[in-house]
Symmetry: C2
Subunit: 307 residues, 2 copies
């Protein structure tokens, strides 16, 4: 195996490890033609996965909710993720796992139960949902007009690729010069943005939406950090008007961590820079990474070969 | 080019024609990871496309709505579809066209506008959304409990792959022994099923939902057939209770045409067989195909090579 071919990333498809540029799925896979798949993303920071078990738990729950059962069990999935990162030779990485419906075993069947589900994974260089320079000045956030798809129709806690409403929110945001967007549901309650959970700070209290949102692992980490730092924090129903009146706002995601926001719509927060509590949480989030918080070291290649 | 390799179908990807089994998309294409794509499907019956211009019009409208602009213009797209069918050597075919967001030109960008959109197409053997034997006895249809995603969040007239709610409806249907499902919106009005529009007949009048539904080309064809046959027909708001009280029900789709339903939930329609008006419309639909209605002959291969 020529390791150099994995320099841009490494993927696992149908039981084989391939360079990311060779990783593809058939155009007729229902994972594509019905977006009938679930996924998860874990990050690797300085050669260690962050909260790998939490991500594997959530991925398993997502698969169960959509009745997806790939041949690989949890231990094999975990081993695949390790090997993708090791093959790519990445100290910091964005690591995706996806289970797709696949194709029917029975020609012409239109039944999901007739399909051979399959699991794919890949490790690629780190991605920030909000670019680092924007994170420094604080993101400019648009509150989108398009309503988030209701939880009753598509469960947002089952991580999925059905981003049409989120993409529409991005169109609105970019048209008006904002960096990104957050959506409200049809009842006017705050939900999430494209690839991140949202938090607000009001009178020293931290709030994040209790609905219309993924149960993010970074969201969970922020709530734990707050508990450890004696900051009152909770998931709650957040009407748009309350959000517009926030003292501070930040986004939270695996692909970027705690990402401060400096403007919400036309409103400038504080001194148009990341807020003090947001920065404190961002600092704590990365400092605890350095300290080995919830860390699983990436298994090196030779060790795996010896297994 | 070895034509025999196209026996299972022919595809067009990134400017090249390839056998369907070799047609794939990168796992990192936003057309997959955000389901950020639009599609259309036209059928070929006895070497002729049916309503090709209508499908190309709708596809163009879908692309415009999602700001997707592939390099190929309309004439090139049309030529690609002809060539896929001719290469596959199919007299009857299911012909798909898809435009995907692609990947960002700018490394790390999360902006849809930074992506290189691309167009793919493929022709494969005919598919019936409801198997032919089930069409003969009449499909058993479940009215799903899961609500259809609202039009305000995801426009159903822009043909898309975001099928989560429809797939959930199929889970419900198959768990209870039904063939397929139809969904109502959160207000209790009838919408559509996984891959088809729905029609009902009450007191000789034909109705189809005016909301939550694709503006199907077969739906349009049925409304035209009704007009020509002096049958009153229209798109209307259809409360679930009205639908449950239907005299006849049928589904309509490119992949199958007019497909009668004989049971709706626990209710048996008529004599548990396709209804008389449904059969009359089904017969007219296919007879007019034979007569060359809205037909565009598939261009043979050698003719294209000479162009």
């Amino acid at each position: 195996m020529d390791i150099s071919s994995f320099a841009n990333g490494a993927a696992y498809i149908r039981g084989r490890f391939v360079p990311i540029q060779d990783a593809s799925i058939p155009v007729t896979d229902w994972g594509f033609t019905r977006s009938d798949c679930v996924y998860d993303v874990v990050h690797v920071f300085k050669n260690g996965f962050f909260r790998l078990d939490d991500h594997l738990d959530r991925f398993a729950a997502s698969m169960k909710a959509r009745r997806l059962e790939p041949p690989e069990g949890r231990n094999e999935i975990e081993a695949v993720l390790h090997r993708c990162v090791a093959l790519a030779g990445l100290a910091d990485a964005y690591v995706a796992m996806v289970t797709l419906r696949g194709r029917p075993r029975v020609a012409g069947s239109r039944r999901p139960a007739d399909c051979d589900n399959h699991f794919i994974a890949y490790a690629i260089p780190w991605i920030d949902v909000i670019p680092k320079d924007v994170q420094e000045r604080g993101a400019h956030l648009h509150i989108a007009g398009i309503p988030r798809v209701p939880d009753a129709s598509v469960d947002p806690t089952v991580k999925n690729y059905q981003w049409s409403d989120l993409t529409s929110g991005l169109f609105e945001a970019h048209d008006q010069g904002y960096d990104t967007a957050v959506l409200c549901d049809a009842q006017g309650f705050l939900t999430e943005g494209p690839g991140f959970n949202i938090f607000m700070v009001k009178d020293g209290r931290v709030l994040t939406p209790d609905r219309g949102s993924l149960h993010g692992i970074t969201r969970k980490s922020v709530l734990e950090l707050c508990a450890g730092m004696g900051i009152e924090a909770q998931a709650a129903a957040i009407p748009r008007s309350l959000f517009e009146d926030a003292d501070e706002v930040f986004a939270a995601t695996t692909a970027g961590g705690v990402m401060p926001v400096s403007r919400v719509g036309k409103r400038i927060l504080g001194n148009d820079r990341p807020g003090p509590l947001s920065l404190k949480l961002k600092e704590a989030y990365w400092r605890k990474h350095e300290e080995g918080w919830h860390r699983t070291p990436v298994r090196p290649l030779d060790k795996m070969a010896a297994e």
